[in-house]
């Protein structure tokens, strides 16, 4: 058998009498493919869920829509080829660059399903200890505190104090509600996420809704941890949330987070948790007539479709209906929107691997997206996924667009137009 095509790293390399040391030695990775070591491909495709990696026929349609390839050398097509060449996907950086945005699957003629492949292969890598440390930290935080930020579980509902309107917590409310609002982690703990939660609470109050939240009984929905390879942790969280929800009587669940929306729609039913669930934009869009818009927002606004609201769950209209209902607001679209919307980089665990991924890419996905938003001529980048406000605000600063582009949740924009909050326009 031929020797494997592994990179050569010599302590001292001598070329034409000249010594080349240190990182230069890596330049001698062989060009010639001397073996197709199929053992890894066979191992990967034997994992339930990862079979379709072997279906790739190299058309490359995924490459042009993959949000990562424009900022790094990565796409599903390339992952297949490298694995076929014997690259250990379990130990490769490639394994952690996918954000599970789902755009490749949308265009893939062979249905190579990275949404199934990534979590199942990552699960093995996590068990073998090959996951980036910062991701493991997020997993540990989630397991210990019920949220990936590592914030105390008992402070999950502290944001309610600044809501300025009653936000009933089910354990104290002692009565059925119409709407069980599943708040999620970033809207509970992150400063900018809390702004959106306050805005949404005030909108609910203004609409005289009968609603409540789980408060400290709520835990992370776990969907991104699942996509990042921690299905065990996901199951634990799902069971805990389902148990808490099952104690109360409500007509439907409204979620702030598209990732939680995805979990409630597709995953929780597998564990016995099946309730009618809507994203808050879907819940509010039919209530536009009841909203009293007392203030105009005379701004040009572009909207970033969250991957897990749009591609994964097919909702593109509700957020736009809400934005277009706001007096004075002009909605402009970015080139990549709706079905082929670009990804913010936060999904699939990307939220918790910022150092890892930014070391390996020419720019963050969020930075690339912010540039698109600026190019569109928008003054405000409207979002409706809790990962995005913080990611895009950081990206606005790091790309030198501070002051030019504001990032606001749709809830903030609505509440501002209703005179319920003063959003930082």
């Amino acid at each position: 058998m031929a020797e494997k095509a592994t990179p050569i790293e010599l302590e001292v390399a001598v070329v034409n009498g000249v010594e080349l040391n240190g990182p230069w030695n890596r330049m001698f990775a062989p060009r010639v493919i001397s073996e197709y070591d199929l053992s890894v491909l066979e191992e990967v495709t034997a994992i339930p869920g990862a079979e379709s990696l072997g279906y790739c026929y190299q058309c490359g349609k995924c490459t042009s829509v993959c949000p990562v390839d424009v900022v790094g050398d990565y796409s599903p097509r390339k992952v297949f080829r490298r694995t076929q060449l014997g690259m250990s996907l379990f130990e490769s950086d490639d394994l952690w660059l996918c954000t599970t945005c789902g755009d490749c699957l949308r265009v893939c003629p062979k249905e190579v399903n990275m949404i199934h492949i990534m979590p199942s292969v990552r699960e093995k890598a996590v068990m073998d200890g090959h996951a980036p440390q910062e991701l493991l930290t997020a997993f540990e935080n989630t397991a210990r505190y019920g949220n990936p930020l590592g914030e105390p579980a008992r402070k999950r509902a502290d944001w309610v104090k600044s809501a300025g309107v009653p936000v009933p917590i089910m354990s104290q409310h002692k009565a059925p509600v119409d709407v069980l609002w599943f708040v999620e982690c970033y809207p509970s703990y992150h400063p900018r996420g809390k702004d959106a939660s306050v805005a949404l609470a005030r909108i609910f109050h203004a609409l005289s809704l009968d609603f409540g939240i789980l408060g400290n009984e709520e835990k992370c929905s776990g969907d991104s941890q699942r996509m990042a390879g921690e299905s065990g942790l996901f199951e634990m969280l799902a069971e805990s949330n389902i148990k808490a929800l099952s104690k109360y009587t409500f007509k439907e669940i409204v979620v702030t987070d598209p990732h939680a929306f995805n979990a409630f729609r597709h995953e929780y039913p597998k564990y016995g948790g099946e309730w009618p669930t809507r994203h808050y934009t879907q819940f509010l869009a039919p209530r536009i007539q009841q909203m009293d818009f007392s203030r105009a927002i005379n701004r040009r606004v572009t909207f970033h479709d969250p991957c897990y609201l749009g591609r994964h769950n097919g909702e593109y209209e509700a957020p736009r209906q809400l934005l277009q209902a706001i007096p004075g607001l002009e909605l402009v679209e970015m080139g990549r929107c709706r079905e082929n919307s670009y990804c913010c980089g936060g999904g699939g665990g990307g939220m918790w691997m910022d150092s890892f991924t930014s070391d390996r890419l020419t720019m963050r996905l969020s930075e690339r997206r912010v540039r698109e938003a600026v190019e569109s001529g928008a003054e405000i980048l409207a979002v409706t996924c809790p990962y995005e406000v913080s990611r895009f605000e950081d990206a606005v600063k790091s790309t030198g667009h501070a002051g030019e582009l504001k990032v606001l949740d749709i809830a903030e924009l609505l509440a501002h137009a209703m005179g319920l909050v003063d959003a930082p326009l």
Partner: protein, 353 residues
């Protein structure tokens, strides 16, 4: 008065279907076959047929017997057509048997179904070493082995661990003079790859290609099936030379989706040889003064709406004598040629009546 008998030359799938068609329409058929059996190239050389991997002999048996025992069909084995004179409705053809004895026959129309021959890899401009290395074989050699139910390295009789197919051998090549795609080799290589994986599940099987050309349903019947169910590895990029290294073959080429040179060792290399006009087809072109189209196969007129009518009145062509065809194409052309030949004779009869 037109002679109500049709000469069919060649007993492969196209000729068999043509003969059956003419006879079923009530006319007499004289079927001339150069070898001692009917069935043509697939029957003689192939263990199984695309796309369903069924045994070629089982699959074709009914067709063969139907023709051999048809009261309207007379079959002459070991016979070739060496001369012809006359015109549509009244040809006098000279047949010659293997002893060299000649005989004249009267026929009203002629269907040429003399097929193709596989490209001789010795003419390949790439250095594949077909005549140098025992373990470099062709698709046809592989089929012969599969007829015996096992696939081995000819050099040592052992099952191969690593097998590579090289596509487009003798096809799509201006230097060789064969500018055409031979149409069936991608499908046959995929079929054989599946069969090798069934026989030798542990073997690693590769198909090196320029672009995979899987017409119609072969895409998922063969290509997807090979890749998804049988883990056949398709590598885009063609091999340019094969060298001997120890008791293995060192294949050199480019992996074009990686943009890197390839030098990998194989136990068995199978050359996907394409189609060329057979000697019989070239001979019939001379005997009946049939023009050859720009690639050298028998020309038809009225393309694309007429696939079987040659520029010589009363002479039709069916199957791979007219260019690369799969079996479905060949059989369809056989049927079409039968209809054209019979209707020509009926027209002539009416006009003469």
């Amino acid at each position: 008065m037109a002679v109500h008998r049709v000469l069919v030359i060649g007993g492969g799938p196209a000729g068999l279907e043509a003969a059956r068609g003419v006879a079923d329409m009530g006319l007499a058929v004289l079927l001339v076959e150069k070898t001692g059996e009917l069935g043509g190239t697939p029957y003689a050389h192939y263990a199984t047929l695309t796309p369903h991997l069924k045994d070629a002999r089982d699959l074709m048996q009914d067709m063969l017997e139907g023709v051999a025992h048809h009261p309207q069909i007379e079959v002459r084995y070991h016979t070739e057509v060496v001369a012809s004179r006359g015109e549509a409705g009244a040809f006098t053809v000279t047949l010659q048997n293997q002893e060299g004895q000649s005989q004249e026959e009267e026929v009203g129309a002629v269907i040429v179904a003399t097929g193709f021959q596989h490209f001789d890899p010795g003419r390949e401009t790439q250095l594949y070493g077909y005549y140098e290395f025992e373990d470099v074989i062709t698709l046809v050699d592989a089929e012969h082995m599969m007829k015996s139910g096992r696939i081995v390295r000819p050099s040592n009789g052992q099952p191969p661990e690593r097998v590579a197919f090289i596509q487009c051998v003798g096809s799509r090549d201006r230097q060789i003079g064969n500018r055409w795609c031979s149409k069936v080799c991608c499908g046959i290589a995929s079929k054989q790859a599946i069969e090798i994986k069934k026989m030798l599940p542990e073997a690693k099987v590769f198909i090196f290609y320029i672009d995979m050309r899987m017409y119609g349903f072969w895409e998922d019947q063969l290509y997807w099936k090979a890749q998804e169910e049988h883990k056949v590895n398709y590598i885009r990029g063609i091999v340019t030379e094969i060298l001997k290294k120890g008791d293995k073959l060192l294949m050199k080429g480019e992996d074009t989706t990686m943009g890197r040179p390839v030098e990998v060792l194989m136990d068995l290399v199978i050359l996907s040889v394409g189609m060329e006009p057979s000697q019989g087809t070239l001979n019939m072109a001379k005997v009946f003064h049939l023009p050859r189209e720009s690639h050298g196969f028998l020309a038809t007129q009225g393309e694309p709406l007429d696939t079987v009518t040659t520029p010589v009145a009363g002479v039709f062509v069916a199957g791979a004598a007219a260019g690369p065809k799969d079996i479905e194409d060949s059989v369809s052309m056989g049927g079409a040629a039968a209809v054209k030949a019979v209707s020509l004779l009926r027209r002539l009869e009416k006009s003469l009546a």
